[in-house]
Amino acid sequence: MSGRRIVITSGKGGVGKTTTTANLGATLAKRGHRVILIDADIGLRNLDLVLGLEKRIVFDVVEVAEGRCQLRQALIKDKRFGENLSILPAAQTRDKDAITEEQFATIVQQAAEIADYVLIDCPAGIEAGFRNAVAGAGEAIVVTTPEVSAIRDADRVIGKVAEKRLPVRLIVNRLRPEMVRTGDMLSVDDVCEILSAELVGVVPDDEEIIDTTNKGEPVTLSEASKLRGVYDKIARRLEGELVPFTNFDSQGFFGRLFGALKAG
Amino acid sequence: MHDLQPEPAAVPAKRGRAIVVTSGKGGVGKTTTTANLGHALAARGATVALVDADVGLRNLDIVLGLESRVKHHVLDVLEELVDLDDALVRDKNNENLVLLAAAQTREKDEVDTEKMKALIERLREKFDYVLIDCPAGIEMGFKNAVAGADEAIVVCTPEVSAVRDVDRVVGLLGNKFRPQLIVNRLRPALVKKGKMLSVEDVNAILRLPLLGVIADEPEIIVTTNRGEPIALRRDGATASAYHAIAAKVAGEDVAAPTVEVKDETFFSKLGAFFGGSK
């Protein structure tokens, strides 16, 4: 039985697709699934960097597509997760015409034969890179932040993905509960109302991400991480569990003071 | 009798400056920078045309608060369905500033690069500055945005992925451009703690002339919510930074705005403990 093929997309750049792919992938791996992450951002790869694996790249997705190596040879195993997490890096010096949709879809299928979850990190935009990334997918997660431009782009992407009949779920990233409370930021409810997509995760804005990205360490690895629980909940929802969402607005002053940022 | 008056010297055709604002990495503040720099230049009396080159995913209109006034877009003009003047949307806060919106519904491959260059040239005849908001990535959208410009501003945040992408883009821009750098969204407290790259770290890799540094500003979210770019304000660190950058772009000998990375005081530590981002 073939694994699930999920494209992580957004339209707008910089909302957290790559960090979501890395952290969600790592969480699923920690929970015992075999996970392959594929970086579809040819020319501007970053998934390797975010996981700290940039020095171990030998082959990339374009070389697999061109038949210069096997998929297994190109996969880089993240040893911190035993056998469970591997990534297929993008090519850095090519551009997105270097691979066709069909080639990409074939690679995704091959990956799905040896993994439980294949997460595809989609580039920003809706051009060829996006079309490639979506080509092999069976479902989509759209990442947005509670900001006007991100939501507008997410709407466009949800439409495009729906055209391909892929089930779509939404992650609201970089929520700032204190700004929601003062009315300076759209709430999760506002976002869901505007986009009408099924919510699968809410990730609060946290400085942690900058630090962990700098170090190439997914939040899953850190006991002290406040976001670890958040990604764990998202993973559980993906697995089919009904996990309630934390109402961050009710956290209040003391919730943040004692750092007990519950999973959302 | 001969007319002894000398022939008047031919008036040189006006040629405004065409500057592309780019980065490679998405979400670092290209559109916000284009909008605010545009306003800051217009506030100095210059005439400014802002061009949204992000066909399919336009956002410059909404950041400027002009989304309800957009009737025509770049492709309408390129395909000669409408006159350029009819497609330009005048800003509601400053009449020196106009917007040429991107098409929402078309794909970037539909834009002809040569026609885009010609369009930018026409705009340069009418405006002191033409700022082109470049889409994320390095695909066709990027190529078209860059085509008509002969100056570039690259925007980078102090994060590893952004620096890597900007480095790639600077390489792709090639020798035609001598790009200048804006470092955006700096968080001085994190830099101090060693949890974020400093401006020096960023520029050690990029080695570009620095136009300015702008601190992370949650108020930007509010200004985008309202469609009222922060450079419309006269005070505040971010507005001032944009005005200083505009002065520099205009050739004034001013210092590039910087952000102080202070020693952490008890109060700033307390602020961080309470989850504030300032």
Binding site: R152, D184, M185, I194 | I62, E67, S68, Q104, T105, R226
Partner: protein, 124 residues
């Protein structure tokens, strides 16, 4: 001026403003993304209007605009003639008194030859 007074006395939270703006801009985006749907809507619209008035189909304009905080559809329909008769009404489902109609129908058929709209009267 009125906007300034509004803002000064009851400043709306910016998230509310954002929500309203997004609602409108997404509607506009969706409309511009579905030109075929709009063409079909225009055709249906013209068909319905044509039952009542004769229109110059070539010169009809339909557009969408944002006015204040709403999206409105504007149409410009040049009318060439107004039909004399009402369009055909669908048959009524409930029974109605028949006698007066029968009389009228006979009268109408005799004097003008115009088509009768009355449905055959059910036997009481």
């Amino acid at each position: 001026m009125i906007e300034f007074i509004k803002k000064f006395f009851a400043p709306q939270p910016s998230s509310q403003t954002a929500k309203e703006r997004l609602r409108l801009v997404l509607m506009t985006d969706h409309l511009s993304l579905a030109p075929e749907m709009i063409e079909q809507m225009k055709r249906d619209f013209i068909d319905v209007i044509s039952k009542y008035v004769e229109v110059d189909r070539e010169k009809i304009e339909v557009s969408f605009e944002q006015q204040d905080k709403a999206l409105v559809m504007l149409s410009n329909v040049p009318i060439l003639a107004v039909n004399r008769t009402k369009p055909e009404e669908p048959p009524k489902s409930d029974s109605t008194p028949s006698l007066p109609r029968r009389k009228r129908r006979k009268k109408a058929a005799a004097s003008t030859g115009a088509p009768s709209n009355a449905s055959p009267a059910p036997a009481v």
